[in-house]
């Protein structure tokens, strides 16, 4: 059974420029699966993420998530259900209150999602930090003093607090250096295996998407134009847009190439 089934989503942004961001978009995600979502800038990837996370309403279409009519949830039921689908965005700095401490950032998520007595919080916070490879003694430090990689680990720890089944990652590793990025990708894959998490990985970096995704969906002008196993989509792309995006990936000169 699928974890997430999206059918016929439509979304037009208001305003003079208001273009069509989602145009009859459908996709599915299985439990524990990673779907990579790629497509040209402005094709509607973040618009889809916002609609999935119930930050924005679509004009039409349906979303089933864990068997529920996701768009029909309201009030308290929606608040409780939100924990099941979490997000991590690109900018690790902007995602936290400017003066928050590491422990404070996680405490906010506990207050919102976990009915545990306050005296248990320090232990819960330490366990979450450990889960993402952050030293528990970072707890009292301001988030602003963390490195980019540490902040992204913290964003993942916070997303894990309500025990989600799906995490949507919108360009979540594109601000990280290659070494740190490799560590975060390995962390995501480990957590996925341990927790049976599904991931929707939105990124322009096709190499990143290929490394972590079981399947890849290619989006253009608000629609999914191609989906398939990661290697198939990248080695034998069917759509023109996928072919062009792949051909434009910057390549390191191989040793021996003329400079």
């Amino acid at each position: 059974m699928s974890l997430l089934t999206v059918e016929g989503l439509r979304k037009t942004h208001p305003g003079a420029r208001g273009g069509i961001a989602l145009d009859d978009l459908s996709l599915t995600l299985a439990p524990g699966e990673t779907l990579g979502l790629v497509g040209p800038s402005g094709c509607g990837k973040s618009s889809l993420a916002r609609v999935l996370l119930r930050l924005d309403r679509p004009d039409a279409g349906s979303i089933r998530f864990e068997g529920q009519d996701w768009l029909a949830l309201q009030g308290g039921a929606l608040r409780r259900a939100r924990g099941r689908m979490q997000m991590v965005f690109q900018d690790p700095g902007a995602a936290f209150h400017p003066r928050a401490t590491v422990a404070g950032a996680l405490a906010d998520a506990l207050r919102l999602h976990v009915p545990a007595p306050r005296k248990d919080w320090p232990g819960l916070i330490a366990a979450r930090l450990d889960q993402v490879g952050l030293a528990p003694d970072l707890a009292p430090h301001p988030v602003a003093t963390l490195s980019g990689g540490q902040r992204q680990r913290l964003a993942i720890a916070r997303a894990l607090v309500p025990n989600p089944k799906l995490i949507v990652l919108d360009e979540a590793v594109s601000a990280l250096d290659t070494v740190t990025r490799g560590q975060i990708l390995a962390l995501l894959v480990r957590l996925q295996r341990q927790l049976g998490l599904a991931l929707l990985v939105i990124s322009h970096d096709l190499a990143v998407v290929r490394a972590v995704s079981h399947r890849i969906a290619v989006m253009q002008a608000g629609r999914i134009v191609e989906t398939g196993p990661a290697d198939q989509v990248l080695d034998r792309p069917q759509s023109e847009i996928a072919r062009r995006l792949i051909a434009a990936v910057p390549q390191l000169p191989r040793t021996g190439d003329p400079p």
């Binding site: 003079a16 420029r17 601000a175 990280l176 250096d177 290929r210 434009a248 990936v249 390549q251």
Partner: protein, 260 residues
């Protein structure tokens, strides 16, 4: 490079208030007119700190050390130096239309009529491959996607025709096609127009393809610097090797199979 240097950093350092160790120490670095320099290094190594310091945009409370020499006279951010901030939101005012942003820069630095300035603004948005530039002039920053905002920030930074453009992760939110178009634009501006470029990036392949030289920072020090091909082929610092070893391309091993 025979061209005269645009700037010379000599024993340059910078310390933020309340930080134990300086964010930059002992930086020796020259940039020639029209040269393209890529700045790479791990997160927190000081790339943005160095980029801001060269543009004279360090926070007032920070303490510099050593100096920056400008043999051809000092250059000012805004007019002589264009800057694209790592966070594209940082260069855009949410309350102003894109047109107002561009007209402000164009009026500050030239004697264009309103009509000519509008035409120039539209041409700039077209140069960064923003769809429907005319309609974009009337729209506000939040009405654009992340990559579209990044392109608007680039258009703003080149609007005054700077002699030096400093782009801090300016293409990290762009798809590979638009990225290639922006790289071609940067080549044009540096080649024919003689603008110098400092390009901060995590993408080593992109750096190798665009830059004449690559400089590698680690914990505030310049640990490797040389012609791009040399730095890639025979890295001289362990840090460069580590960044190269972690580079992913479409042939790198995958971390998962085709099914969960």
């Amino acid at each position: 490079m025979t061209a005269a240097p645009l700037f010379q950093l000599r024993g340059f350092g910078l310390r933020y208030p309340g930080q134990g160790r300086p964010a930059l120490t002992g930086i020796e670095l020259d940039l020639a007119q029209g040269e393209r320099l890529a700045l790479i290094g791990p997160s927190g190594s000081g790339k943005s700190t160095l980029a801001r310091a060269i543009a004279g945009l360090s926070p007032p409370a920070s303490t510099p050390e050593g100096g920056i020499l400008w043999p051809g006279g000092p250059m000012r951010a805004g007019r002589d130096i264009g800057f694209v901030f790592q966070d594209p939101g940082g260069s855009l005012n949410p309350l102003l239309t894109i047109g107002a942003h561009l007209l402000e820069v164009l009026h500050r630095h030239g004697q264009l009529s309103r009509k000519a300035a509008l035409a120039r603004a539209e041409a700039l948005l077209d140069q960064v491959h923003l769809p429907d530039p005319c309609a974009a002039l009337q729209a506000y920053p939040h009405q654009f996607s992340g990559g579209q905002r990044q392109r608007i920030a680039i258009a703003l930074a080149i609007a005054a025709g700077p002699r030096l453009l400093i782009a801090d992760e300016a293409t990290s939110a762009l798809d590979t096609l638009v990225q290639a178009e922006i790289v071609a634009l940067l080549r044009d501006l540096t080649g024919a127009a003689g603008m110098a470029l400092i390009f901060v990036t995590h993408d080593i392949a992109l750096a190798a393809g665009l830059a004449d030289r690559i400089a590698v920072l680690e914990a505030g020090r310049l640990v490797d610097c040389g012609p791009a091909a040399r730095v890639i082929a025979t890295p001289q610092a362990a840090q460069t090797l580590a960044l190269l070893a972690a580079h992913l391309d479409l042939a790198s091993p995958r971390l998962v199979g085709d099914r969960p």
